[in-house]
């Protein structure tokens, strides 16, 4: 009986050599392992054997069955691999270095920088306000302590309009409106914290460094105990976020009618870090923004009691920041609508 096992094994090995594809393999499987296959047929003979032979034959035929099963599986894997290799061989090579042709849109660099700064301020609990551009003389000047006869009110700096209004010359023109809208914080409430970006206008000739239309961003914080010390802290923390590094800040006296005391805030030079370089004229400092404690007259005109409340305010040149961030050297690009420039700010 063991000879018949050898015979089956030999027949299988020979037949396997002839298999070309998965159909042939399936036929082979059926002819050996199927219900009417050679192995099954041999199994039927087992009952005619004595016990000893039965045991030995049973063992051998099972080994053969497992071997055939494994050989068929291995061959099936081989066929599958060959098929995949053929597919891969035939697939077209893709060139990943070819740029995609999907058209790209863009956001204005001012929007990008504005959004980023707004997010930082929002994360520190500031409300973002939006202000009108056509303002009254009162809001633009009187309400921020710039009385008649002040040089800032000389005709040539301000665009005056046919209805007696003007184009706002600074974001401070919104201070009075905002103070009146929100009022001083009530007992136990946190300080009023507002950021108000806005487009401002100055009646001047334009060149690479000067625009008659530009963006500022102004912030205010008003409460019962807002101090110069708080101002320095907030400016340092905020500017470190804005410039994504630990910046040092330095305050110097500066005169602005709507604050008292008023300051010029310098930051440690972003190029040299304070060592001194041509950008900072070797001083190690860059003049960045005006700020100060809100002038008691301004609070009073905003309906806030200056005896009880104090606050600070600061102004950021948004246009200047955007130019600094992206290395834009000609300010006129910003309002030009020139897509060669603007499409670079892919969004």
């Amino acid at each position: 009986m063991l000879e018949s096992i050898e015979k089956i094994k030999k027949a299988f090995d020979e037949a396997l050599q002839e298999v070309k594809d998965s159909e042939g393999l399936e036929k082979l499987r059926i002819s050996f392992l199927g219900k009417k296959g050679a192995i099954t047929d041999s199994m039927k003979e087992i009952k005619n054997l004595d016990n000893e032979a039965k045991k030995e034959f049973g063992k051998e035929i099972n080994i053969l069955k497992d071997d055939i099963d494994e050989a068929i599986r291995n061959f099936a894997d081989k066929l599958a691999n060959a098929r995949l290799e053929k597919m891969i061989g035939e697939s077209k090579k893709f060139d990943f270095t070819v740029p995609s042709s999907q058209p790209e849109g863009s956001l204005h660099p001012i929007t990008l920088v504005q959004r980023r700064i707004e997010d930082i301020f929002k994360s520190m609990g500031f409300i973002i306000e939006d202000g009108i551009e056509i303002q009254t003389e009162y809001n633009n000047f009187e309400a921020v302590n710039i009385p008649k006869n002040h040089p800032a009110r000389d005709m040539q700096d301000t665009y005056y309009l046919s209805n007696g209004q003007l184009l706002k010359t600074h974001t401070s023109a919104a201070q009075n409106y905002i103070m009146r809208k929100y009022g001083a914080p009530k007992k136990g409430e946190p300080p009023l914290k507002v950021l108000f970006p806005g487009r401002c206008f100055r009646n001047e000739n334009i060149d690479a460094c000067h625009e008659n239309t530009f963006w500022q961003m102004e912030g205010m914080m008003i409460g019962e105990d807002i101090s110069i010390s708080n101002l320095i802290y907030f400016m340092k923390v905020l500017l470190s976020e804005v410039f994504e590094r630990d910046v040092k800040v330095r305050l110097r006296p500066g005169f602005f009618p709507f604050v008292e005391p008023g300051f010029e805030l310098d930051i440690s030079c972003l190029i040299c870090g304070g060592e001194g370089c041509p950008t900072c004229k070797n001083s190690g400092w860059l003049e960045l923004l005006p700020c100060g404690m809100i002038h008691p007259n301004v609070l009073k005109m905003g309906g806030i009691d200056p005896e009880k409340y104090t606050g600070f305010a600061f102004g950021l040149g948004l246009t200047r920041l955007a130019m600094m961030k992206y290395g834009i050297t000609d300010i006129r690009v910003l309002n030009s609508g020139n897509l060669k420039a603007l499409k670079q700010f892919v969004s």
Binding site: Q102, R250, G337, S347
Partner: protein, 793 residues
Amino acid sequence: MFISMNWISDFVDLSGVDIKALINRFTLSTAEVEDIYEFGGDTKNVVVGKIMSVENHPNSKKLHLLKVDNGTEIVDVVCGAPNVFEGALVAFAKAGGSVCGTPINEAEIAGYKSFGMCCSEKELGISEDHSGIMILNDLGVEVGTDIKSFIPLDDTIFEVDNKSLTNRPDLWGHYGIAREISCLVKRPLKPLDVEDLAQYDGFEGVDVKVETDMCYRYSCITVKNVTKKISPLWMKVRLQYCGQRPINLLADLTNYLAMELGQPMHAFDNSKVNEIRVKMFETPIEFQTLDSSMRTVEPGVMMICNEKEPVALAGIMGGLLSEIEDNTDTLLLESANFDGACVRKSASKLGMRTEASARYEKTLDPEMTVPAIARFLKLLHDVDKDAKISSRVTDVYNKHFDKVEIDFDKAFVDKYTGIDISSDEIEDTLKRLEFGVTRNGDSFKIDVPTFRATKDITMKADIIEEITRIYGYDNFEYKSCASMLTPVRQNPLREDEYNIKKLLASKYSFSEVQSYIWYDNKANKELGIKADSYLRIINSLTGENEDIRSTMIPTLVNFVNKNIENYPEIRMFEDARVVKGIKEDNLADEHKNFAMIIASRESDEYSVITELKKAVDHIAKVTRNKEFEFGSEGLPAYDFIHPKNSAAISLDGITIGYISVLHPKISTKIDKRLTAAICEIDLDAFAKTVPSDIEYEEISKYPGIYIDLSLLTDKNDSFGYIKSIVDSLGNKMLQSCNYVDVFEDPSLPEGKVSLTIRLDYCSQERTLQTEEVNGYVKEVLDAFAAKGISLRS
């Protein structure tokens, strides 16, 4: 403004003080120092030399051959100056020395050896005088002495940013700066050395009449027999270093006083001006200023006149006719105080901002006029003992500033600063700044000195600045503020705006642009765009673009025109403000608008408007979870709107904007092939609409059935109309009714088109049977039939 450290040292002892550190402290506490210049360091080995002999150079008409005793030896020198003479004491730069950085070496000049150089004032940087070499015979100096021992050539000059002094009239002279520095170094400020004016009280006065209230104070005195013409070297050096060219003694003295006390003075020739009228003319007059220019002086400009005619522009510049000349020996010295705004406006009208007007416009202290005269006379008499005072001080003092007194206590300072500055330190600082201080424990009563009281210091907050700037902001401790945590409500429109921008840029490939609040009138004219404007700029510099926009579409069309040659298709939007009218209270009716354009040289009109509408529809979905409605009502009458393919956009029953194909009369002007679609949304109107919540519907476990119906509809029937018929049946099984396509064909009856719609039916409870759906479709078809709409056969 330039500040000389030597000059400051007249008033504050700076011995042992680190000057660089002091200047840095000054920037942090007072005003920004823009630059620091070191003078004199590059002048070395210049001594008093004596010319022993003078011979003409054989080969040159100009040159002389000199023998000069330099104190240690007699050397040969070739010199080109015309004023050489035997016995002259000169400033002699020895070979191996240097003069303002130019090294002086042994040299051969026109064939003769020269071992040094005789210097002119200009060469040494003392003045602009280069007419000849300096002659030192009158100074009583020894041969061989270093000239720096009697000419203060070594000095540190720092330049203060004038802008940072706008609110500090007291800092427009060295004495005021010295007061700050005395406070910073905590050393006493020396009083000014002045002449006692009381001795002239018995003299006759000058006839002064002030006829305008813009002149607060007019003080003057007259002087005769001024014989000296040349200023002392130390004064010339200071003037020159501080940017003021030395001229002659009297002019130099007035300039010196302006730079020392900040008080502008003017010296008239007393033989030409012997009485003073301060007034304004009612009609324009012609006047020649001392720079020889003829100027037309408008009414409102204050003038100084003698009895007959004007002699000076008050606070700005004197007249040519009464100018001090080299032979003038009598003077009428003016020391006056004028209204700052009046001087500023006059100077600006005349286009001549001078050292005097720059100071007056800061609102100077009127108390300064008489001390300035006393100081002038002291300096004059130091130089010219024989000058005779010929009048008493005549002083017309019409406007006194109010005395300013301020009460505060330390608690107020603590609250404002957030740190603890001791009462002793507060007192010390204020006293050093010459405030009157009355202190009772932690309570203070402050008398503001007159030189700070013209407008600078009026209230408590101003005192805080004085205390803190001297304390030093760099010495402050940084503190966050403790406060309750509460949510912050943001303005939802700003979020909408940003979401719309982001959607348009990232999904629909739009580029955001920004422009101006006014129309580009020239571009509008070229493109034939007419656009309304309700507001005009009345003082534009260019006079070109004065009309404020009521719509932003013309700008976008203009930008398309500028860019189209570089791109086959352009998509742009702008988010900005427009003025849509003037309200009843005469204020501008300002709106925030959002404008979009798609322009293409390759697509037809239908495609561009389809693309734009896709983006617009998406805006409603993303921001409101709603759909816009499109209709003809509320469409504005703009000239650039397409007469047929345009619609007003509304939401929640509020008209918020419009969408349109750009009128071909404009698009074809840009390019014959160009088609464009435009849309403008009024964000203020949009802000009044409310978002709807997303309503989740359980998804059905059962399959649905969809049916496409091709309808024969009237050409003018919109899909919206067809859908409204389907919706009117209110069938709950109908999940959606969608547009598939529309086509026109000659085979169809006249005026008809074929519109295909898809109806989706599905039930939450069971699988719908075909018969049931057929029943629903029949209902729909019946409803259509009632409106005269049939299936296309």
